[in-house]
C-alpha cells in the first residue's frame, strides 16, 4: 500500500525567491567610491605605453600627462595608443653629428605654439616614456632637443621600485 502524500508537501506554497542584492550593492558602492577617489587624487590619466619597457626607480611622485613622447630603441614617437607617429628614426639618433633631432624639435615647437594659440600658459614641461634599454647618447640628444625647444622640465616616467 502506498503511503499517503505528505500534507506539508501538498499545501506548500511556491514562494518567489529573490536575491538579496542590498548588501552587495553597499559593497560595490564602497569599492566604486574608493576607486573614484584614488583616481581623482592621481591627476590626469597616464597609462604605460605598450611600446616601451619602463625602468624602475625609487620614486614616489605621481606622473602627470603633459606633452608626451615615447623614446624606444626603434626611434622616438608621439605618445599614442595605436600607431604612434614617428618623430625621429634610429638612423637620425645614431648619427653622432646630430645633436638636435629635427623631427622631435618640430613636434615640440608645434605643441608649444598650439598651447599658446589656445590661450593656455606654456609650462615648458614634457613627459617622456623612455625604454630602459635606450642608450645614454640617445637620451642626451632627447634632453638637448627638449632644451632647444624651450622645454625646461623633463619628466621621465618610471615604475616604482618595490621596497
Amino acid at each position: 500500500m502506498a503511503f499517503a502524500p505528505s500534507k506539508g508537501k501538498k499545501h506548500r506554497r511556491k514562494e518567489k525567491e529573490e536575491l538579496m542584492l542590498n548588501s552587495m550593492m553597499d559593497m560595490m558602492t564602497i569599492i566604486l567610491l574608493f576607486l573614484l577617489k584614488t583616481m581623482g587624487s592621481s591627476g590626469a590619466l597616464l597609462r604605460p605605453s605598450p611600446f616601451v619597457t619602463l625602468p624602475t626607480a625609487a620614486r614616489e611622485r605621481e606622473p602627470e600627462k603633459t606633452i608626451a613622447i615615447l623614446v624606444t630603441p626603434q626611434g622616438i614617437f608621439e605618445d599614442m595608443e595605436r600607431n604612434p607617429n614617428v618623430l625621429s628614426q634610429p638612423d637620425e639618433l645614431s648619427d653622432p653629428e646630430n645633436v638636435v633631432l629635427s623631427g622631435l624639435e618640430t613636434f615640440l615647437v608645434d605643441q608649444k605654439q598650439l598651447t599658446e594659440r589656445l590661450g593656455k600658459p606654456f609650462k615648458g614641461q614634457v613627459t617622456v616614456q623612455c625604454d630602459k634599454e635606450v642608450t645614454y647618447d640617445w637620451l642626451l640628444k632627447v634632453i638637448n632637443t627638449c632644451g632647444q625647444a624651450e622645454y625646461g622640465t623633463i619628466d621621465f616616467v618610471v615604475l616604482k621600485a618595490k621596497t
Binding site: 584614488t38 611622485r61 606622473p63 609650462k123 630602459k132 635606450v134 642608450t135 645614454y136 616616467v157 618610471v158
Partner: protein
C-alpha cells in the same frame, strides 16, 4: 442614501521593490574599468631639470672661494659610469685619493650601486656637512615655495653624471637613485637629489 465605498480602497498595495539589477550591471562594468586605470599607481615620475634650470653653480666656476681662501666654493661632484665601474671625482680632481676614487663592478659584472650609495654618504658627511641655512624658490608647477637646505658648498645638493654612450637608461636611473638618498636602517638622509646628465669627457 450613502455613497458606495470607493473601489480604489480595496486595491491592495503592491510591492514596490527597486529593481537594482541595472545599477549593479553599471557598477560591475565600472569597477574593472577603474581597476585597469588604477595601474598608474605603480608608475612614478623622475623629474629632470637640465643644467640651465639648476643652480648653475657647478659649471665653469672655480672650486675655490673668492680670495683664494681655504674653504672650497663648489664641490663639483662628478660620477662617471664607465665599463669598469664608477669613478667619483670632487673639486675636479683626477688623481686617486680622497677626492677621486673608483668603485669596481661586482664579480657578476653588475654595477655596485650599494657601494656608490655608501661612499656618497661619506662624501656628503665629510665634504658638505650639515645644513648652514635654508633657501626657497618658487615652484611654477605648484605655485608654492620649495624650501631646501643650503650648505657651505653652493652645489651641496648636486651631482653631475656622465656615462658612455652605450650605457642603458636603467643604469642611469639606478645611478641617480643611488646619488639621491641614503637609507640608514629606515632613516633616510638626503644626499645629492639634483642630478645633471652630462656628456662623457
Amino acid at each position: 442614501m450613502a455613497f458606495k465605498p470607493s473601489d480604489k480602497k480595496k486595491v491592495e498595495a503592491q510591492s514596490t521593490d527597486l529593481n537594482l539589477l541595472p545599477v549593479m550591471n553599471l557598477i560591475i562594468c565600472l569597477i574593472p574599468l577603474l581597476l585597469s586605470v588604477a595601474k598608474l599607481s605603480s608608475m612614478a615620475m623622475l623629474e629632470y631639470l637640465p643644467p640651465a634650470e639648476a643652480t648653475e653653480s657647478a659649471a665653469g666656476e672655480s672650486p675655490l672661494a673668492e680670495g683664494g681662501g681655504e674653504t672650497p666654493a663648489t664641490l663639483q661632484l662628478l660620477v662617471n659610469v664607465t665599463e669598469t665601474g664608477f669613478q667619483v671625482s670632487m673639486y675636479g680632481k683626477i688623481e686617486p685619493g680622497q677626492y677621486f676614487f673608483e668603485i669596481p663592478l661586482l664579480p657578476d659584472g653588475q654595477y655596485d650601486f650599494a657601494a656608490l650609495n655608501k661612499r656618497l654618504e661619506e662624501v656628503k658627511r665629510r665634504e658638505v656637512g650639515v645644513a648652514t641655512g635654508i633657501d626657497s624658490v618658487m615652484n611654477d608647477k605648484t605655485g608654492k615655495m620649495d624650501v631646501f637646505p643650503t650648505f657651505r658648498v653652493k652645489d651641496g645638493r648636486e651631482v653631475s653624471i656622465t656615462a658612455l654612450g652605450k650605457t642603458p637608461f636603467q643604469i642611469i636611473v639606478n645611478t641617480m637613485d643611488a646619488c639621491r638618498k641614503y637609507d640608514a636602517g629606515g632613516e633616510e638622509t638626503e644626499l645629492f637629489p639634483i642630478a645633471l646628465l652630462k656628456q662623457f669627457q
